[in-house]
Amino acid sequence: MMSSKLTGRRLWIAALVVPPIAFMCLFLVYPILSAFAYAFYEWRGLVRGDFVWFDNFHRVLFEYPFSERTINAFKHNIFVFFALMVLQNGVGFILAYCLWRELWGARFHRIAVFLPVVLSTVIVGLLWKLFYHPLFGAVNASLRAVGLGSLAQPWLGQDSTALTAIVVANAWHMVGFPTLVFLAGMQRIPSEILDAVRMETESEWVKMSKIVWPLVAPSATVVFTLLFVGAFNWFELPFIMAGVDGNPHEATDVLGLYFYRTAFGSMSASAENFGPGSALAVLIFLFIAVVSSVITVRLRRREIQL
């Protein structure tokens, strides 16, 4: 009696956990493990060939023309990461502080700053592409309207501004996310601590740097790590705004685009090439995994538990 009840319970638990685990294994764990294996084979179209050890890695890292493109794209990812760190996370922190004061209208401003976050990257990309249009776009139109017509330029069409223009669109799209994560962190600071600080100093700067910033460290850890992963996975926005080749002249090429072109082919890179494509994927994956865990561990260490 007892044992049959126990087996029944065990069956019931298994019935609950096995289907979701099976799903995860089939469509998440298995593909990621295979991605590692694929990088060590030669590929002819969709057919797997011989085991070639590290040939694919050698090609994407050290052989022309792969290596130049890898390094070019990697540099752009680094630029994107630091630019968004300022425009997205930095601005987000300042906005969070402003919203935290709960001034009149704060609720409206909170809803406004998060509104673009719910939009699809495709809508944001296409919209900003129209805004950046050299002749008819709203960006140049507003420059002309305020008498700065001489600054009007083809933002997406020239090497010097194209990547920055896409980064700005990304910051507009996503700045609400770090803002509200920081805001939640600030709202969790106990009011006794803030009252105590108010007794000690009138300086807003001291309060921010000595109390608020250290106490929102857990929020900072999360948004920094997510931005890092996002910046080195960056694909959809440059794909929509600059095209798969990272136009103009690969000035907006990033690892995500280069990986996609190598794997699935494009007008310029001809047919699909799964070997070097897989090697790139593995390298990007390892880079993200290693650096983001280092960031997380280091940032966690400075967090203060209340």
């Binding site: 289907p19 402003c98 129209l130 994560v181």
Partner: protein, 282 residues
Amino acid sequence: MRKGIDRGSFRTYGWDGLIQILLIGNSIVMLTPIVIMFFSAFKTNAQIFQSPFSIPDFTNVKSLLRVWNETDFLLYMSNSLIVTASSIALILILGTMAAYAIARYEFRGSGFILLFFLAGLTLPLKLAIIPLFIQMRDFGLIDSRLSLIFIYVATGLPTTVFILTGFIRSLPNELEDAARMDGANEARIMWSIMLPLVRPAMVIAAIQNVVPIWNDFFFPLIFIQNNNLKTLPQGLTAFMGEFGTDWGVLFSGLTLSALPIIILYIALSRQFINGMTAGAIK
């Protein structure tokens, strides 16, 4: 003394004024692009180019009607609806099953199973797109909505299990124990006693998944080539190429695609904000 207070309050007012200006400025930057998009949907090319910021004649719905009648907009929209709704339903069913078992029963390996799901939180599945492509081809799921649904379920489960496990753990034991005393079996306890209590957490989990799934562009780009199965973000890029020179139609297409989620967001902004930041706030 009095002077000191005055000076202090003046300083506070000045500081608050500066903050208010910053916030208003930022909201203008956030909303202007969306307002221009909306206005331009009611304008002709000439009007858009000559006066991009003017308030249009809202009775001019020619461009909006063209999008509605001459493009596959409705088809794309319904495809997105089907894929999103099925994915969310499956995510909630499977996620609740796993979370309930982990949170309510003590069994060997439950800690490991939770860790297994949590590990999935950080895996960028995009980078495994080559093996996924070959796998889906072997399953015969290229150009099938199922490929998208399965992928979205696998990527949505980790956060869902994470949110639901925490919530289900916090539920009290009394009701469950009383029902067990009365001889109710485990399935009945779960279905009629515990699950009704989990609903608020399910709403959070659903919203957290709905936005990235509804907006996704990457996986349809790889798996869907058949026009009849394309989702809205994917269809939108095709349509932009087709009507490339008619900006009124382009802005109308963008407006119509953005409208459903904007309306939903304005109606449920609190839930959206809580849901979408739930994974990032401990």
